[in-house]
């Protein structure tokens, strides 16, 4: 497997302090390799967005990182912990090394500035010595890369359609050639036709430019198609992680199985589907033991008392995948690797 570019180790994020703190992300271990698309799936409130904001240190109060480290491996320097960077270092790191495309990105453009101003603004902030001419040239090149003709440089956001605005946002994220791009539900506000066009383009750009993507969404069927590996979150923890095809064919965790059978299929035989009974847990009142056990069809005695550890399962294809479930007790916990 390719070398890692971003390693998340035992990351914990709370909202609030003291006894009333809500543990939104708990003991997350995740490695992003160079050039891969890592899908992060989960329902609302599972902590997937919090994880993304936590690792880029964009959490707004009362969000607090209470532990762990985020190790970033630059292409030609020693690895360092992002959580230990000073404000100045952090400012340089963000966008140039790791860029983020926000949820509802089409509305994150400033309505009173032209596209060109917003694109070049990034370059101005990160490389003040760059000439205006080369800044504009770079912005134009970026627009072309995401499939928008360069004569739209002077347009205001409202003059572009939703899909085009989304492309501008992706172009803007890539303008400093980051190693890692985090996309938080980048296409939920778009129609399926536009969604496919944009994701297809993103995959193509990734092959050309070689960045890695963390792709956050609740649409697991989309992830299976577009990502290399998938991590599934539930109640602030990662419950299963495996190559996309493995998750689709042979998910081990009952929650992953439930999620997969929550999407009616477009092809093949029509099956009666049940979804998952119950509703997602409230982060403030998390069940004891495995947080999925009240909804789990296979729950048994240890589930309600002990928290399962994410680790390599005892199945023959156990290498390269991990699961946190008492049905498949870990042979080797991930945190120990």
């Amino acid at each position: 497997m390719a070398e890692p570019v971003l390693e998340i180790r035992n990351l914990n994020v709370d909202y609030g302090l003291g006894d009333k703190a809500v543990h939104a992300v708990r003991d997350v271990n995740l490695t992003l390799h160079r050039g891969e698309v890592l899908g992060l799936a989960g329902e609302s409130g599972s902590g997937k967005s919090t994880l993304a904001y936590g690792l880029t240190r964009l959490l707004a109060p009362p969000g607090v990182i209470t532990g762990g480290e985020v190790v970033y491996h630059p292409s030609s320097a020693a690895a360092y912990d992002v959580l230990g960077l000073s404000d100045q270092q952090l400012r340089a790191w963000r966008w140039a090394e790791t860029a983020i495309v926000f949820q509802g990105a089409m509305n994150s453009l400033n309505p009173v500035h032209k596209i060109s101003t917003q694109l070049t603004d990034v370059l101005k902030a990160h490389d003040p010595k760059m000439s205006e001419h080369s800044r504009n040239a770079r912005a134009r090149e970026m627009l072309k890369l995401v499939g928008i003709s360069a004569d739209r440089m002077g347009a205001y956001p409202h003059q572009l359609s939703g899909g085009m605005r989304q492309r501008v946002m992706i172009g803007m994220a890539l303008i400093l050639q980051p190693q890692v791009v985090i996309m938080d539900e980048p296409t939920t506000a778009l129609d399926v036709v536009m969604q496919r066009q944009i994701l297809g383009q993103l995959i193509e750009l990734r092959e050309r430019l070689g960045f890695s993507v963390i792709f956050i969404t609740h649409d697991l069927s989309l992830l299976v198609e577009f990502s290399n590996r998938i991590a599934i979150m539930y109640g602030g923890r990662i419950v299963e992680e495996a190559p996309a095809a493995t998750i689709y064919r042979d998910a081990l965790h009952p929650y992953s199985k439930g999620l997969l059978s929550s999407f009616p299929a477009l092809r093949g035989p029509k099956r009666e589907l049940a979804g998952i009974p119950g509703s997602p847990p409230d982060l403030a009142g998390m069940p004891t033991g495995c947080s999925f056990h009240p909804r789990c069809p296979k729950a048994f005695e240890p589930c309600s008392t002990a928290i399962p550890v994410l680790g390599r399962p005892d199945t023959p294809d156990g290498a390269g995948r991990s699961v946190a479930c008492w049905l498949h007790p870990a042979e080797q916990p991930v945190s120990a690797v």
Binding site: S44, D191, V193, I203, D219, E225, L259, P264, L266, I276
Partner: protein, 353 residues
């Protein structure tokens, strides 16, 4: 087209029918437009839509955002006055503007909205919401005990049991799925014949969407309801609906039995929609190269829709005729009741590609 639909299952009683339903929203004119001789502009949101809801059947209306599918639901609920066409309830033309006539209509045709976070009043309890629905439509009974029994029955129908646990809660104390169930219970409080469900599950968490869809199907069977299911997710239309209609830019482009429409789509737009839907069986990142040049572009402006077929500027199979003549619904031979508004099917031999 009417003859096509009549041919299908005449045993099912028609509850609500839209005939040539049209809605144009006027565009506000600017001062300078007053002096120009230009025609009055309008958004052609819905044009010439035919739709039949039958007892015990689910009809899905599928389309992208802006295709006019929600406008159809609102027209059918008589929340908007229509520009042209007719809405018939049990064969009788109806046009209600408000007051008791609207209430009488609402007692028979109820709507469920997309967002249960917005459709329930945050300052009132579940008991209040359901009691209002029962009282307005005269199903509250005479005594306190009658009302209590009716409330229990309503919550039981949407599987919110035990009812005591939910009746005195406020909407914020419930999860999204529970809230949508309350919204459904409220609609059932009127004892309607038809339910118009405008994207009833798209705001819910994925794991509970199916629960709500299965509940709606169960209710349809038990109460013999006619349901219009509006969605952008064609896979869920296949799962849930008996019949599927596809809308594009305010017009119906294809319709028929759900299985036929999703498995052997005839209209190029339906094909594009199905090819674009996420499909885990496709290999990772492996895009079909033929798809790249298909269906680029975006839905047209509805103020000035394209002439002829509204899909022709994006259509990979467009012919000269498509830009001039408006296609009429044409029967596709593969299944009874399957039709598409596409000139490709004008010649029987030309069917399919």
């Amino acid at each position: 087209m009417t003859s096509l639909q009549d041919a299908k299952a005449p045993a099912n009683e028609v509850v609500l029918e839209a005939i040539g339903l049209t809605k144009h929203f006027p565009v506000r004119r600017r001062l300078r437009d007053l002096f120009s001789s230009s025609e009055k502009k309008a958004v052609h949101a819905v044009d010439d839509v035919h739709l039949t809801l039958r007892r015990g059947k689910v009809v899905a209306l599928v389309g992208e955002s802006g295709s006019g599918k929600s406008t159809v639901a609102r027209l059918l609920a008589q929340l908007y006055p229509r520009t042209d066409g007719d809405i018939q309830l049990h064969g009788e033309s109806t046009r209600v503007k408000g007051g008791s006539a609207f209430r009488g209509y609402a007692a028979r045709v109820q709507m469920i909205f997309q967002d249960p976070f917005a459709s329930l009043n945050p300052v009132h309890t579940i008991r209040y919401h359901l009691t209002r629905a029962l009282q307005i439509h005269g199903h509250a009974g005479r005594t306190e005990a009658d009302l209590e029994a009716a409330l229990t029955d309503l919550l039981g129908r949407v599987s919110l049991t035990p009812p005591e646990r939910y009746l005195d809660k406020f909407p914020h104390e419930l999860s999204g799925g529970q809230r949508q169930r309350v919204a459904i219970a409220r609609a059932l409080g009127a004892r309607p014949e038809a339910l118009l469900a405008d994207e009833p599950v798209s705001m819910l968490d994925v794991s509970i969407r199916l629960g709500v869809l299965n509940l709606l199907r169960d209710l349809k069977e038990r109460l013999n309801l006619a349901i219009l299911y509006i969605t952008h997710d064609i896979a869920s239309a296949r799962y849930f609906a008996d019949e599927t209609m596809v809308m594009y830019a305010g017009r119906m482009v294809e319709g028929g039995d759900s299985e036929t429409v999703t498995q052997t789509p005839a209209h190029p737009y339906t094909r594009l929609l199905i090819a674009s839907a996420p499909d885990p069986d496709r290999l990772t990142g492996d895009l079909d190269p033929t798809e790249e040049d298909r269906g680029n572009g975006e839905p047209p402006s509805l103020i000035d829709p394209p002439s002829g077929c509204r899909f022709h500027p994006r259509c990979p199979a467009a012919m000269p005729r498509c830009s001039t003549d408006l296609p009429v619904p044409l029967t596709i031979g593969d299944a009874p009741g399957h039709w598409a508004a596409c000139w490709l099917y004008d010649v029987p031999e030309g069917a399919g590609k």
